[in-house]
């Protein structure tokens, strides 16, 4: 008894630390930028200088919030996908969600005028179609258990979308449209305004809330079919709801920020190393870690050099490096 309680208390403490770190990251990021000088902005700028105030409140603040939400969403979704598919190497890119969003965006750029609103709507639409397509296809495959079926279907749908996006890139005018699509595919938050926040929050926050509330049930859903059936009568429906929430939130952020890879894969792993594999802890800690991770990457993206570095490049770089390190240290944790 005492050890479990003790464990709960220590994880709660970790939460507190995590939240504190998140707040520190957010506050710190608030004072990082290129105006008026590269890197650090003095606190006095807030009341000294009208331009600085405007930059901080209308440009930086929505952007750091967006980065944090992006990180939270990708990580929570990654944790959910990994547990539901019983596969630690899974993330949004496996279900046709990211690729669908990328395809929708490319389509909007090449054929539908390339306006911001069109891009976002197309991205979200095709992300959903990607998930639906994977689910539908999975039911028709008669090979293996449902986890394998969905993964196979997801790969097929992702491949189709990638080919489609490649074809669109091929059609695009290399002078004008192609750099557009390429930058977008690499991901970036440089266009975020309060309006964008207003558009993602109504989708992302409820979805993340759903994932958070159902975090303990995720353990059940990660069991073999027979076991989860024996423990809950609505396993199928619960899986569907969690997947829907994960995909909806992901599509919303991907449509604003482009394809950002590795976050959904790496952050849940890191979270698991710290708090163990119980989803009750992994989901919320992933959200905190992920938020900070993407936030810090985005700080680098917008501050390090004069021009913007595509966010996807930074997250891939850091994420892949961490992943390699993780792979090479595959000790099974035995908690005493």
């Amino acid at each position: 008894m005492s050890t479990y309680r003790g464990r709960v208390q220590s994880v709660r403490r970790m939460f507190l630390w995590g939240t504190l770190i998140a707040i520190v990251c957010l506050a710190g990021s608030f004072f990082l930028g290129r105006y008026p000088e590269p890197y650090l902005t003095p606190v006095t700028a807030l009341w000294d200088n009208e331009m600085a105030r405007s930059v901080l409140l209308h440009l930086r603040l929505p952007r750091i919030l967006a980065a944090f939400l992006l990180g939270m969403t990708l990580s929570a979704a990654g944790a959910v996908f990994q547990m539901i598919f019983r596969n630690p190497l899974v993330e949004a890119g496996l279900l046709g969600v990211s690729q669908g969003a990328a395809f929708g965006a490319s389509l909007a750029i090449v054929a539908l005028g390339g306006r911001t609103a069109t891009i976002q709507i197309c991205a979200a639409l095709f992300a959903f179609v990607g998930l639906g397509g994977s689910a539908f296809l999975a039911r028709r495959i008669r090979l293996g258990d449902w986890v394998l079926r969905l993964v196979l279907a997801g790969i097929a749908v992702s491949a189709l979308y990638t080919a489609g996006a490649g074809f669109l890139k091929y059609l695009a005018d290399p002078l004008r449209q192609l750099p557009d699509i390429t930058f977008w595919l690499l991901g970036g938050l440089w266009g975020i305004t309060w309006l964008d926040i207003g558009q993602i929050v109504p989708v992302v926050v409820p979805c993340l809330a759903v994932l958070h509330l159902m975090r303990w049930r995720l353990n059940l859903l990660a069991m073999e079919d027979e076991t989860s059936f024996s423990l809950t009568s609505s396993a199928g429906r619960e899986r569907f709801v969690m997947l829907l929430a994960a995909v909806a939130a992901t599509a919303a952020v991907v449509s604003k920020a482009g394809q950002i890879g590795w976050v959904g894969l790496i952050v849940p792993h890191m979270a698991r190393r710290v708090v163990g594999s119980d989803a009750q802890w992994t989901v919320p800690i992933s959200m905190l870690f992920g938020g900070c991770f993407v936030l810090l990457c985005d700080d680098l993206a917008r501050t390090l050099l004069t021009g913007e570095i595509p966010l996807g490049i930074l997250t891939s770089f850091v994420g892949a490096a961490l992943f390699l390190i993780l792979l090479m240290r595959r000790d099974i944790k035995v908690r005493a």
């Binding site: 290129r34 000088e37 911001t116 005018d173 002078l175 975020i192 004069t306």
Partner: protein
């Protein structure tokens, strides 16, 4: 029961696709006719040009069926049309964008008779038009060019990235058309204006040069981010030659493409003058209005001093490496250093340019070009 049949069908499709892909395009036997000499080989005739990739090509006779493909084909076509022989000897071109061909029909009433190739043609498509010369705008050999050379069709590359290269390309075109005199005429036209600008800026120290930002805008970053041109691009060179100090050059990034810059950085630079190049799909006047109305942009020095402009264009932008760049440069000079270049009458320059370079009469220019040019930049 089902999987084997599906698998067989799938295999058949894959096999068929593979067959299509492996179709031998490249290494065919060289047909008789024009020989493309490689450097070092003995040259049968004195007609020899060196193109932008440094390659030497020789001709037995002057090309009479020229096809333009590759990047921004309109740029190469406009250069060819600087010569009277251009309209006769251009046989076809790659149609990159429908809208890109509103201009040449004004210069050449028989333009619609030219063969238009679909985007990204393969060597076979191009060869089917029986060209005797391919022109591609690129500083490195492109795969299409290489394939066509192997078919025995000479391929010539135009650089066109900066004024020096442009003038060299003009001289090369003069050789290709056998009209050196015209080439020199063109070079003189440009050189005279370049000299005018250089003279006007003589003795101007760096600190006196206004800080200038030229930026591309395509709505996708909202007003939170814009793009700046590459270090060696035409826009950068135009700015420098017109006497401006390009703010985007003193940066740690040595990028060669459009670089995304967020507003914070622009605010940090706080340039004296801002020139906007909107994406050609956008309504230019609306773009300028929206920048002037934006709560953040209008706080910038350039906005407050009414030094925010639209980079001018007619049917084609004046900021790209095609022949109009000289107009862009001169116009920039009148905006960057109005007191030194007050004698430049841009309207007259437009008439002179289209008249001398393309042989267009004033009336035609008045009808088709002038209405589109925002001489004032706003």
């Amino acid at each position: 029961m089902r999987p084997p049949r599906l698998a067989r069908r799938g295999l058949a499709i894959v096999f068929f696709v593979l067959l299509l892909l492996v179709h031998p395009w490249g290494p065919l036997a060289r047909p008789a006719g024009l020989a493309a000499a490689k450097s070092g080989a003995p040259l049968p005739s004195p007609n020899e040009v060196v193109d932008a990739t440094g390659k030497k090509i020789s001709f037995a006779r002057l090309p009479e069926r020229i096809i333009v493909v590759g990047q921004g084909p309109f740029m190469s076509m406009h250069l060819l049309y600087l010569f009277p022989e251009g309209k006769d000897r251009l046989a076809g071109y790659e149609e990159k964008f429908k809208v890109a061909n509103d201009f040449l029909p004004l210069v050449d009433p028989r333009f619609s008779a030219k063969a238009a190739l679909a985007t990204n043609p393969g060597p076979e498509h191009v060869a089917a038009l029986h060209p005797d010369l391919i022109v591609i705008k690129s500083s490195v050999p492109s795969p299409l060019g290489v394939s066509l050379s192997r078919l025995g069709i000479p391929t010539v590359y135009l650089g066109m990235e900066n004024p020096d290269q442009f003038l060299r390309d003009v001289r090369m075109a003069g050789l290709l058309f056998g009209n050196r005199a015209r080439a020199e005429e063109i070079v003189q036209f440009y050189q005279a204006r370049l000299d005018l600008l250089a003279k006007g800026l003589a003795g101007v120290a760096k600190e006196q040069k206004p800080r200038v930002l030229v930026m591309g805008y395509n709505e996708r970053g909202g007003k939170a981010a814009v793009q700046v041109p590459g270090r060696s691009w035409t826009q950068t060179i135009q700015t420098v030659t017109a006497g401006g100090n390009p703010v985007w050059l003193d940066s740690s990034q040595a990028s060669e493409g459009w670089t995304v810059i967020n507003f914070e950085q622009v605010a940090s630079w706080d340039p004296d003058k801002i020139f906007i190049i909107p994406a050609f799909t956008l309504d230019r006047r609306e773009v300028l209005k929206s920048f002037k109305a934006d709560p953040q942009w209008r706080r910038l020095k350039a906005a407050r001093n009414n030094e925010m402009w639209l980079f001018p264009s007619d049917l084609f932008g004046w900021d790209s490496p095609e022949p109009r760049w000289i107009l862009g440069m001169m116009w920039l000079a009148t905006k960057i250093f109005p007191e030194r270049f007050s004698q430049i009458d841009i309207k007259e320059e437009v008439y002179r340019f289209f008249g001398t370079m393309f042989g267009m009469e004033r009336a035609v220019v008045d009808a088709a070009i002038m209405p589109l040019v925002m001489l004032e930049g706003r």
